[in-house]
Symmetry: C2
Subunit: 114 residues, 2 copies
DNA sequence: CGTATATGCAACCCAAGGGTTGCATATACG
DNA sequence: CGTATATGCAACCCTTGGGTTGCATATACG
């Protein structure tokens, strides 16, 4: 089942990425940025149940995890998704489920061997 | 790119799952359970840099996220992975990256239309 | 039955994280 | 130039979460 699974990174490296995705507000930001493309901070704050400052903090958290990137254009800073890290997160989950598949395979082989 | 993507769940539902995976200790537990199969708490604690109680807490956190399940056998409780949730987490990431792909597609179409 | 092993429960500690308010700063625009 | 808009910075609050220690409980085993 594993998709093109390039990096053979240590699985535990994924923790910060998952942690970044593990917040509803941030996940919603990621989703919006994916769907609507690059947006300014105020745009992202519109309709959000929290303050603009909170949004800023979350964006910085996403940036720290390498999931998003913001650049200043004039008086507003535009944020966009960093797709590479998203792919990498998928790779991590694939690694884990591959391990699980392999374990199932070994178990089945062991049982049938009896 | 999207794999067999069954559930059309709200993306934000994924947050608790990612949050559960967003801790190095827990991610290591998940990995070990995938590779080595069902294990007892003390087995999982052996070699870990933290206390058995800490491991127990993390296992309960994984259980709360639906990622693992423990059943008591005699005097020890054996923990195993709940693969369904793992698949679901993959589905979430697929949803997000699909959205991103779609956005790219639209952008490209828009540019070429000019 | 007595002891060692495997967990569970509970209280407690402390740092991190999400959220807010208030104010400063910088850029667009008439 | 003056004003409105878009952000940045910093201090502060409070809850959550990871981790620990101490003790109770239950089961395997000689």
């Amino acid at each position: 089942m594993s998709r093109a699974n390039s990096a053979a990174t240590k699985v535990t490296d994924a923790a910060p990425v998952f942690a970044a995705l593990g917040d509803e507000t941030r996940l919603r930001l990621v989703s919006r940025l994916c769907v609507e493309g690059p947006l300014s901070i105020t745009s992202l704050s519109d309709g959000a149940p929290v303050t603009r400052q909170a949004i800023t903090k979350h964006l910085n958290a996403l940036a720290a995890a390498g999931l998003a990137r913001g650049t200043r254009h004039g008086r507003e800073s535009i944020w966009e998704i960093e797709p590479a890290r998203l792919r990498k997160a998928q790779g991590y989950l694939d690694q884990i489920s591959d391990q699980w598949d392999a374990a199932i395979g070994r178990l089945k082989a062991f049982v049938e061997e009896e």
